[in-house]
Each structure stands twice: as structure tokens, then as C-alpha cells.
Symmetry: C2
DNA sequence: ATAAAACACTAACAGCTGTTAGCGAAAATA
DNA sequence: TATTTTCGCTAACAGCTGTTAGTGTTTTAT
């Protein structure tokens, strides 16, 4: 029957993954069936396997794409010659923007990575740990330099990262403020909360 | 075979629900099967139905128990004659303590309520909206009285509530700081971030 | 001790799960 | 135009899903 999408800008595989991200976000990975996904793509379930090799692979692609994005960015920020608090602000703003612009995939990566199969799940777990550890180190430097309050750095990281995932509510809200206003508000509360 | 637990303090139904909360937290509602749950309870799957009427009912009990707890508490706090910032701090501390002490059920309620069946899901959705709205109103009062920065109240609520759910990472962490230290750190960052 | 209630068991159900095989049509390449 | 590759289809699989019926045993109440 009809082939997948008239795709000028994206491969059929990308179409599938994008649609999957939407469904995984709405209903969760486990509650989304391949027949479900197929229907939204406009194809029979079996046809999906001409483009992807398994349901698990879809989740892997989503999770690692997002993880790489953040890993690359933090590397860049951390190597720049600015204050600790400026680094934290840059990281926070990046998280917020990604969460606003690439909502589905970022959110899925954050909430559903536990459903990865081995060895991907272990891998992701270490990446996440390393990422948080890296932010904590920046905060610790900030504390030693007197830029940041004397707080427990891991706790600050935990607050920052989880606060960002609250942007989900913003997305589902009917009367949303504008994205950049949201961003500035979040930065104001969180970064001010850290400053000495 | 063996009956469920030697239960002096809790009914068999409560044992099942407690065990279910653990599994739902680890693997999610959809990825937890009744046979899975039965095994952890030490019984055959069919036997569970002598105590509960469906898998859906288990989730309902967890979600509404938690929702009632927070609804009752906010009522109490909001009727007390203290400053807006003190109310916010009280609500935040309550969230943190509940998340520390009743981790599994609070977390499941927060993450898995979307899997409730109708009309429970609609009901829960309104309760959650009302709850957030109520906190936002307290913040707005605080802003008008000059206690709190001029920020977007719904954004502040979103940050507060989601930050708390980050306590999940704390629970799974190997080197945890003590509960009350965690609490004070979170309050320091978040409440100071709000203050004018 | 006897009757009643609570409850765990086995067996089975209908429906859904991810996935594969094989076939034919469409699209791309030569 | 002829050939090869791409890809959607139907049919089917084995295993798992929540749940019910019916039976027998253990615990509780009389």
C-alpha cells in the first residue's frame, strides 16, 4: 500500500523513530505496541522491520542520540574559560532549550532508558552517572571559589536536572508562557538559588 | 501452599499493594505482570484475585492514597496564619519527607498515574492540576506581598515539584547524605531561589 | 466439634506481544 | 527497457497478558 511519508528531509527510519518518540512519551515504552506504532506511521506492523531491526533498537537510537548531544555540549562548556556559575547557567539553558525544542526525544530518553536491554542499559547508566558527576565537579569548583553557596553538590545537580524535566507540564499546559520567558524564569530561580 | 506473609500489622491486600509499588517503581506499571507480582508475594497469580479485583485497582489505590495525603496536607498548611514563603517551605519539606519515607508509593503515584483507567485518570489529572494551582496561588500572594521575586508562579511550582522527584536518584545512590541534610539543602536552594 | 468463611491451588480462556517468512508490487539502477 | 533492490503486504509463530472457574485445604467463628 502507501509507502511511508513523502520524505524529502528524512529517511523512513527517521520517520518511524520520530513517531515512536511521540508514542513512547505519551504512553511509555512498554505500553506502546509495534502495531500501535505501525498504525501511526500508516503501515502494517511487519513492514516496520524493513527499516528497524527491533523495538529495542528504536529506544536505543533515541536514548543514545540524546545522550551524545548532552555529552558533547558539556564537554564544550566545561572547556570554556568562564566562571563556574556561568558554566552551570550555560548547561541549564541548554537543557531547557533542548527540552523545549526536542521535547519528545529528550523526555523519552530521560524517562524510559530503564527499558533498554543489556548492555545498553548499563552503558546508559554509566553515561548518566558520569554526566551528573561532571556537573557536580563544576559546582564544587564554584563553591571553593566562593561563587556558589556551601551546599551538597550532588543535591544541586539532582534539583537542576529534574526541574528541567518539569517542562513536560509546560508543554501539556494550555496557557503557556513563551519559551524564552520560561527559560529566564527557570534560570532566575535555580541559578539565584545557587549563588552565594 | 503458603499463605501470604505472617501479617501482624497489615492485611494481605496491603502486602500485595506494597510489593506492587516496589515493582511498579522499578519496572513501571505496564512492564510489571501479575505473575511477576505474584512471585514476589510468594503466591500464584490467580491467588492475588482473592484480595484485589484487578491490576488497575492496585494502581488506583496507590495513586489516590498519595493524592489524598498531599491534598489534606496542603489544606492544613494553607489555612495556617503564616507568610507565603513559610507555606511554600512547609509544602516543600512535606514533599521531601514523603519522598524519603514513602519513596515507592509517592514515586509510583507521580510517574504512573497516566496508566490509570477512566474515570480515575481524568479525576487524578484534575486533582493534580488543582494542587499545582493551589501552590501557584500561594506564590502569587507572596509576590504581591513582596516576599517572593517577580516570577511566573506556574514555573516556580513546576520546578519545585519536579525537583523533589529527583530524590529518586538519591535513593538509588550508594553514598547518600543523610535525609535531613538532603532536606535542608533542597530547601536552601529552592526557597532562597524564590526569596526576593 | 461443626459450620462457615477465607484463600491458595490448577487449568484454562481469549486477546495481545514482538517478530519472521514468503510473496508481489513499486522504485531505483543499469 | 530490463534487472535488481526496496519495501509493504498477509499469514503465522510461540510466548506472554490479565483474568475466571472450579476444587480443595486451611483458618476462623459458633
Amino acid at each position: 500500500m502507501a509507502k511511508i511519508k513523502s520524505n524529502r528531509n528524512s529517511t523512513r527510519k527517521e520517520v518511524i523513530i520520530t513517531e515512536a518518540a511521540k508514542l513512547f512519551r505519551e504512553k511509555g515504552f512498554s505500553a506502546t505496541s509495534m502495531r500501535d506504532l505501525a498504525e501511526h506511521v500508516g503501515v502494517e506492523a511487519a513492514s516496520l522491520y524493513n527499516h528497524i531491526s527491533s523495538k529495542a533498537e528504536i529506544l536505543q537510537e533515541i536514548c543514545f542520540k540524546v545522550a551524545n548531544l548532552f555529552m558533547t555540549h558539556i564537554e564544550e562548556v566545561d572547556n570554556s574559560p568562564v566562571s563556574a556559575i556561568a558554566k552551570i547557567e550555560a548547561i541549564l539553558r541548554f537543557h531547557i532549550r533542548q527540552m523545549i525544542e526536542h521535547y519528545e526525544e529528550v523526555y523519552v530518553s530521560d524517562r524510559e532508558w530503564k527499558h533498554l536491554t543489556e548492555p545498553y542499559m548499563q552503558n546508559m547508566q554509566s553515561q548518566r552517572r558520569a554526566y551528573r558527576q561532571r556537573i557536580a565537579s563544576i559546582i564544587d569548583v564554584g563553591i571553593r571559589k566562593g561563587e556558589i553557596k556551601d551546599i551538597d553538590a550532588p543535591t544541586a545537580v539532582l534539583i537542576m536536572l529534574h526541574a528541567v524535566s518539569g517542562i513536560e507540564s509546560w508543554h501539556r499546559s494550555t496557557r503557556k508562557i513563551e519559551g524564552h520567558v520560561l527559560e529566564d524564569n527557570m534560570v532566575m530561580i535555580l541559578v539565584e538559588g545557587l549563588k552565594k
